[in-house]
């Protein structure tokens, strides 16, 4: 029987396992940071809030009951921290979105997904690589990563054994990994 990675991580983190916590941070930090960037339009603030979020997660993990997904729970913590920040910063009459020109440029970029695409080397490489990838690999990988489908469902859709699905998804990841070498 399959076990959720998040369940296993949460269980270990609740036991005080810092290594498990690190694996969880690696998994969710990019998504939380990206969400906060959209919310705050400031990279510096988003980095700071992301750090605070995971500190809070470590402190409050015992209160996570599994009523939502782990990501949703972490996300709600991050958004609450961001809201609290803005409530407290309103009194100081600070505006993070117009404090300087660089930040303003960043805001423009963040509000414009197309600019992000054009300016982000990683996205460009990944996008280009996906387009040239064999269709069988791309389809299996997309169904898994974009649609969050389990292998069994993908195998039915593509009419191939589960082992083939596993192999195709792995090969897609390897091709993408090779493509982005040196960027990360």
């Amino acid at each position: 029987m399959k076990t959720s990675v998040d369940e296993a991580l949460v269980h270990q983190i609740k036991d005080g396992d810092e290594d498990a916590f690190e694996l969880m941070v690696i998994k969710y930090r990019p998504r939380i940071l990206a969400s906060l960037l959209r919310y705050t339009s400031s990279r510096e603030l988003s980095e700071d809030l992301t750090q605070q979020t995971f500190l809070r997660v470590w402190e409050k993990i015992d209160t996570f009951k599994g009523n939502s997904t782990l990501f949703t729970w972490i996300y709600s913590i991050s958004i609450n921290l961001a809201r609290n920040y803005y409530v407290s910063s309103q009194g100081k009459k600070t505006s993070l979105t117009d404090s300087n020109e660089n930040l303003e440029n960043e805001v423009i970029d963040l509000k414009n997904p197309e600019n992000q695409l054009l300016n982000n080397e990683l996205l460009l490489k990944v996008n280009s690589c996906l387009k040239s990838m064999p269709i069988d690999l791309r389809t299996a990988y997309s169904l898994r990563v974009e649609e969050q489908m389990p292998y069994e469902e993908i195998s039915k859709i593509m009419n191939v054994p589960i082992g083939t699905v596993r192999s195709r998804i792995f090969r897609a990841r390897e091709i993408l990994t090779k493509e982005i070498e040196g960027i990360l």
Partner: protein, 228 residues
């Protein structure tokens, strides 16, 4: 089945929640202590997130486009209005009066038959459609525009509010230049009545896009001028 998999293959299974309980716990312990494997884990996570970001961008672009086109059609010129109709029809791939051509040089071919046009149109790739949609969002496109601000086609004046738009009173068109990120290797264009969307890759790796109600010979001159 999984016992013969290498560490990276197991990592892929791990990311996809496809391990059983024992396998997962064993792998977690390995992942905690194996720094090489941990680095690979970070890479896989970044890639998965990048793919999701791209997917979300495309979804946003598609969901926003009808709103944007409607807004611009109400707000702006005949060109935009005509273009909006073109794009909306082209997304549906239903129109026989929207024609895509391929050409190996600047010359724009005469219209092909509607049957052929329909076939050709189905060959238009998704990325190209997205680029044309992007062009309609000219307020955004302007921010990445590589058009030389001193460049001015003979007989035309520049729209002071939109620096990549030109008009001579009768004809009007917009030029957009950017990196050829869609890797278009041949010129392509669409025609809808008097309006044209013309895409042409330059030798230096940039992509020129022209939209407006300009004649093919004028489009040729514009492209030749820009490709110098």
């Amino acid at each position: 089945m999984n016992s013969k998999l290498n560490q990276d293959e197991l990592l892929s299974l791990f990311l996809d929640n496809e391990m059983d309980h024992n396998q997962l716990n064993k792998f977690l312990e390995e992942l905690k202590t194996n720094s090489t494997l941990k680095e690979k884990y970070k890479t896989y996570v970044e890639i998965d997130n990048a793919v999701n970001s791209l997917s979300q961008m495309n979804q946003r672009k598609r969901s926003n486009i009808f709103h944007i086109l409607k807004y611009r059609a109400q707000k702006h010129s005949k060109i935009v209005s005509a273009l909006a109709a073109t794009i909306i029809l082209s997304i549906g791939i239903v129109s026989t009066n929207i024609i895509e051509f391929k050409s190996n040089n600047y010359l724009i071919a005469d219209a092909v038959s509607s049957v052929e046009a329909q076939t050709q149109f189905e060959l238009v790739n998704d990325e190209l459609i997205q680029h044309v949609i992007y062009l309609t969002m000219s307020d955004l496109a302007m921010k990445n525009d590589l058009v030389n601000p001193n460049w001015l086609p003979v007989g035309f004046v520049r729209n002071p509010k939109k620096l990549n738009e030109f008009t001579n009173g009768d004809k009007a068109f917009a030029v957009h230049i950017e990196k050829n990120y869609i890797n278009l290797d041949q010129p392509k264009y669409w025609v809808n009545d008097d309006d044209v969307i013309y895409l042409h890759p330059l030798k230096d790796g940039r992509l020129v896009s022209i939209v407006g109600n300009i004649r093919p010979d004028l489009a040729n001159k514009v492209l030749i001028s820009l490709d110098k």
